[in-house]
Symmetry: C2
Subunit: 218 residues, 2 copies
DNA sequence: CGCGTGTGAATGTGATCACAAATCCTGCCA
DNA sequence: TGGCAGGATTTGTGATCACATTCACACGCG
């Protein structure tokens, strides 16, 4: 008589830590070059070094963190060339995701996207960098989820992860007074069912945000 | 007897294991659905479970291995939809890499590509699946390295990794009597400096190999 | 005053152990 | 004969420890 211990709810410690750090990095709560130590994170989260090591190893594998020659991990400080590459990847992948989502994008989805866009505008008004990045990514993810292409979306999210700390550092340098104007173009193309216009709007939105970045000194 | 106490230059055990398994998976030495255990790999490589765990966690993060609900790891058995997605990613990314490599593709590179293609033909003649996959990937990687775009290349290699076991399983099912004919088209486009033709040839080469796969039952 | 240097603290790596869940296998019962 | 219940084994998870290397900071020499 084994008691049905429905235990699969609670996830492993290394997995919780992974998710926590991943979210933190993606939305820009960590600045570039920030160092993370095994014992520090372990103490901070009340676990031993073992699950911390696994979580960090996973994040390093995804490019969310970089590894120094001596094994120290820190958030990445991206070079100009690296930023250009990641922008090119976004410009390559995200129009494809949007095109795949287009046939399945109904009114309810467009409404949700509009709502996210409103939240994004509020983040701009409050000069809240983290909220801005989060709502911006939510806008894209919500659209792309309709593409029903998890493998492609996973690649896109990996790119976002790598850009997280850098986007946060960028936020303070550009003068923002409105949400991305391309988001409105994306919504218009979705309503019109116009795939070429949608691809163009997504590509413009993705490359525009990162263009300032590469122009600066860095 | 000789207690070699200090070994500073050597790479870490978990890193060696990671590289070893990654190579094995990418060239198709492991079939889909193959289970890997911590203690098994540890004993097999003369290390403890700790470095094995880190290597596996890293490979899982890259999609090279899948994780069951109970934490077991095994090589992935890809669904049809997943294969289609990965093929689409290759078709999206690799033409871009080839176009970036084109301006830097000189005679020496084309010669090396031809040599790799010859080795590929030998693998076909010997019905050696692993050699076939390895030389095929070498052909692409050698070309893409010239693109000087490590981040984009890394994404491409991640896709190859995910397809490794499946490509091996596929190899036995298709009748191969010649190396990919598109490789010759790629070489011709490189010699002619024709970027549109190069993009088309790469795209055709990439999608052609995986088209059979999706058509079969799987 | 500047800079290399040495010592102590901090850090990553790997091994080992305890524990619980999952899996496998055997044998029993319908 | 078929399926299922039981226990033994396997397996992943997390904690703790020892050790070598790396880093940081302050001291001392030029």
């Amino acid at each position: 008589m084994t008691t049905i211990s429905t235990r699969p709810i609670e996830t492993a410690a290394h997995d919780r830590l992974y998710r926590y750090l991943r979210q933190q990095i993606m939305v820009g709560e960590l600045l570039p070059g920030q160092a993370l130590t095994l014992r520090g994170l372990a103490k901070q989260h009340g676990v031993s070094m073992t699950p911390v090591r696994e979580a960090l190893r996973r994040l390093v594998a995804e490019g969310a963190l970089t590894l120094t020659a001596s094994g120290r991990v820190s958030t990445p400080e991206l070079s100009n060339e690296r930023i250009e590459e990641l922008a090119a990847l976004r410009a390559l992948i995200e129009p494809e995701l949007s095109a795949r989502a287009l046939p399945r994008a109904h009114f309810a989805l467009i409404d949700r996207l509009s709502a996210i866009n409103t939240a994004n505008a509020e983040a701009v008004a409050k000069h809240d960098a983290v909220s801005y990045i989060r709502t911006n990514l939510d806008f894209h993810r919500t659209l792309y989820l309709r593409a029903q292409s998890p493998a492609i979306l996973a690649v896109a999210e990996t790119v976002w992860l790598q850009l997280g700390p850098t986007m946060r550092a960028l936020y303070g340098r550009v003068q923002r007074n409105e949400p991305p104007r391309h988001h409105r173009m994306i919504l218009a193309a979705l309503r019109a069912g116009d795939e070429p216009a949608l691809r163009l709007a997504v590509r413009a939105d993705v490359t525009n945000g990162l263009r300032h970045l590469a122009q600066r000194g860095w």
